[in-house]
Symmetry: C2
Subunit: 202 residues, 2 copies
């Protein structure tokens, strides 16, 4: 088994943190997206969808999509659970994972893609759309602050994949110039809690 | 248990089809999004995220996010499986569901939101962004045609939630003026296969 990775990209990081929390070690193959290494004919053949990371199993089966790769590891090694244990917990974790993905991670990523000067060579940038997404992410952080007033982790009492998605979104936000304002104390406290876990360095 | 629904919106439809395939019947409460009924103070209190559909359990617990709601039903009633049975199948179905969601459903939805005249009152429309997404959806349909040359369903041999997402995307595409071109015969054949299942009318 091996994981095609890029230490600079936020999605591969979500999988590395997930694996670190599980205590699972998978050999990594580095592919530098910023240098266009994911678009070589060899990589295109391996991964026609062109999305990163990519997990290759020993029989050659390949999986893409961050959360699908995490699901695979969750099911082959359920402990510690990062995607909920009961049907209701699993649904609640998935709900919060998706909220953080659609409402925080994506607006931050879209803001970066459409506003950051180095991205102009990879993307047709539409500045107005970048600004809409920046504002959307900032507003979502304020709402997240209210949500975190009453619970230690994004999905409730336990650390989960939803925390991984949100933490990686916020760290990505530093590059997208979307910092967490000091007034958002619940987000700051939660961030301190999750970012000091050893897995955050994965 | 009850499901807050809107017969005109594509996401509630994904859940209705999922339930029909499972043979599960849940009372529906109609909320007309186009009339702004999801933004009344009563509905805002019920569903602060404002996303649709919403499942309310008998104990008052509320779930949003289409795929999280589907996951709940998959786990409480695994048969027939719509999200894969083994760990690898589950990961593959999730991978394809996400591909169809991010690469087809979303570009179609974004194209509709940013180009359709009736949406101007709900959204700050950015025409260029709508056009980028229309082109992205059209290109993805061409790639889907190649993918479906070798398999009967989106995720492989079995009908799954990935087919539901893709079919609802394509039906939504009719409103977004993104039809499936007649040359895409594998997509047409697959569409005939999934859209004639009784669940498609749910």
């Amino acid at each position: 088994m091996k994981l095609y990775d890029d230490t600079l990209a936020p999605n591969p990081r979500r999988v590395r943190i997930f694996l670190a929390e599980k205590g699972i070690s998978v050999p990594l193959v580095q592919v530098e997206i910023i240098k266009g290494e994911h678009k070589t004919p060899e990589m295109r053949a391996l991964n026609p969808a062109g999305t990163w990371p990519l997990l290759e199993l020993d029989d050659g089966t390949r999986l893409t999509e961050t959360v699908a790769i995490c699901r695979y590891f969750e099911l082959i090694q359920p402990d510690p659970p990062l995607m909920g244990r009961t049907p209701l917990e699993a649904a609640q974790v998935e709900m919060w994972q998706r909220r953080m993905e659609f409402e925080l991670f994506m607006p931050i990523a879209l803001s970066f893609r459409h506003l950051a000067p180095p991205m102009a060579k990879l993307e047709t940038q539409i500045k107005d759309f970048g600004l809409v997404n920046k504002a959307r992410a900032e507003k979502r952080l304020e709402r997240l602050n209210d949500e975190l007033a009453a619970k230690p982790f994004i999905a409730g009492d336990s650390y989960s994949i939803a925390d991984i998605t949100a933490m990686c979104a916020i760290d990505f936000g530093k590059y997208a110039r979307i910092p967490v304002d000091d007034s958002l104390t619940h987000v700051k406290d939660w961030y301190a809690r999750v970012s000091t876990r050893p897995s955050a360095k994965a």
